[in-house]
């Protein structure tokens, strides 16, 4: 097996992020946009009913652009950035987390990142459609959201370190269970200590919020699954020489099947 080059993996990570971003954009356009439109319709109906002005009407970017090019810009840049960061994490993890090959390691890293930066913040401070959330508290909510992401990363890293520390004494399985138990407990304590956010306007349909949040989760799941699988595949092709890829000598991780 070749030794990994940071530059090569970084480029592959950003490419995987771009491709996963395209998939996530399709999901966001098909599943997410109808919910955004519904929420904006409700928001405007409420603004008309109260006779007040509305900030979307004076917007420099129209809805048609927001829902297509704007959404695409956001999701693709997000994908490229996370793909690059995942590649850096993969560079660190390769050869350091047991005898896994590039594909299994990439899946492990992307799965851990999905849990740390998406799931952990999501269950405390979930995504909200337009019309939900007081603009006056946007700064505070952003700070809490970022804090939750940082906590998710730190606690996940601590859980992995703890598992590795315990592995020689408990064996791989019980060390993993202990690490997972630590993560769940620590996240539960953080949830209990940090302030909650509940700024859903009275009468806002619960179904719409549920569907919006599910579609948001689907977008993130698509992105992270795409990054994990594509980066793993590209890293595998980069690191495992063609002739060895299907040979019995290559027994690292999940690479029993030739690419």
């Amino acid at each position: 097996m070749n030794s990994p080059s940071v530059r090569a993996l970084l480029v592959r990570g950003m490419l995987a992020g771009l491709a996963a971003g395209v998939l996530a954009f399709l999901v966001s356009y098909v599943l997410g946009e109808p919910r955004v439109e519904d929420a904006i319709a409700l928001e405007e109906a409420a603004a008309h009913a109260s006779g007040g002005g509305h900030h979307h009407e004076a917007a420099p970017v129209g809805r048609a652009l927001q829902a297509t090019a704007g959404l695409g810009t956001g999701v693709l840049l997000y994908g490229v950035a996370l793909g690059g960061l995942t590649a850096l994490a993969l560079c660190f993890a390769l050869g350091r987390v047991g005898r896994f090959g590039p594909r299994a390691t990439a899946a492990f890293v992307a799965g851990g990142a999905f849990a740390a930066v998406t799931l952990v913040p999501f269950f405390k401070y979930p995504a909200n459609p337009p019309a939900v959330g007081d603009p006056a508290t946007a700064g505070r909510r952003t700070a809490l959201y970022l804090l939750m992401i940082v906590l998710g990363l730190l606690l996940t890293a601590a859980a992995v370190l703890l598992g590795r520390r315990l592995a020689p004494r408990l064996g791989g399985w019980y060390a993993s269970v202990a690490g997972g138990g630590f993560l769940v407990t620590a996240v539960a304590v953080a949830y209990a200590v940090l302030p909650g956010v509940d700024e859903v306007p009275a009468g806002f349909p619960a179904t719409l919020i549920w569907q919006f949040r599910l579609s948001s989760l689907a977008i993130q799941a698509t992105l992270w699954a795409g990054i994990g699988l594509l980066l793993g595949e590209l890293a595998h092709r980069h690191l495992v020489p063609e002739r060895a890829a299907g040979s019995p000598a290559d027994r690292s991780g999940s690479s029993a099947v030739a690419a």
């Binding site: 090019a69 956001g74 999701v75 997000y78 950035a81």
Partner: protein, 73 residues
């Protein structure tokens, strides 16, 4: 087919040689910061804080922020 007849080379079990940290560090710092700046612009510029005046960045990325889970407004 004849795979089991060929003895495995033990050396290949040592999966991948880890990248030395001193080689990874400059990449991690430089590109890591670059990627985080990118995430800041996607998620928070002209929202919670602003480096540039106006609302164009916020409005352009409006739907993405909502759907990706960032507090938008």
């Amino acid at each position: 087919m004849a795979q089991s007849a060929v003895p495995a080379v033990p050396a290949s079990d040592a999966a991948v040689t880890p990248v030395p940290l001193r080689e990874l560090a400059p990449w991690a710092v430089f590109t890591g910061v670059l990627m985080l700046v990118l995430l800041y612009f996607v998620g928070a510029e002209q929202g919670a804080t602003a480096l540039f005046e106006g609302e164009t960045v916020h409005e352009w990325l409006h739907d993405g922020r909502h759907l990706l889970g960032f507090p938008c407004h």
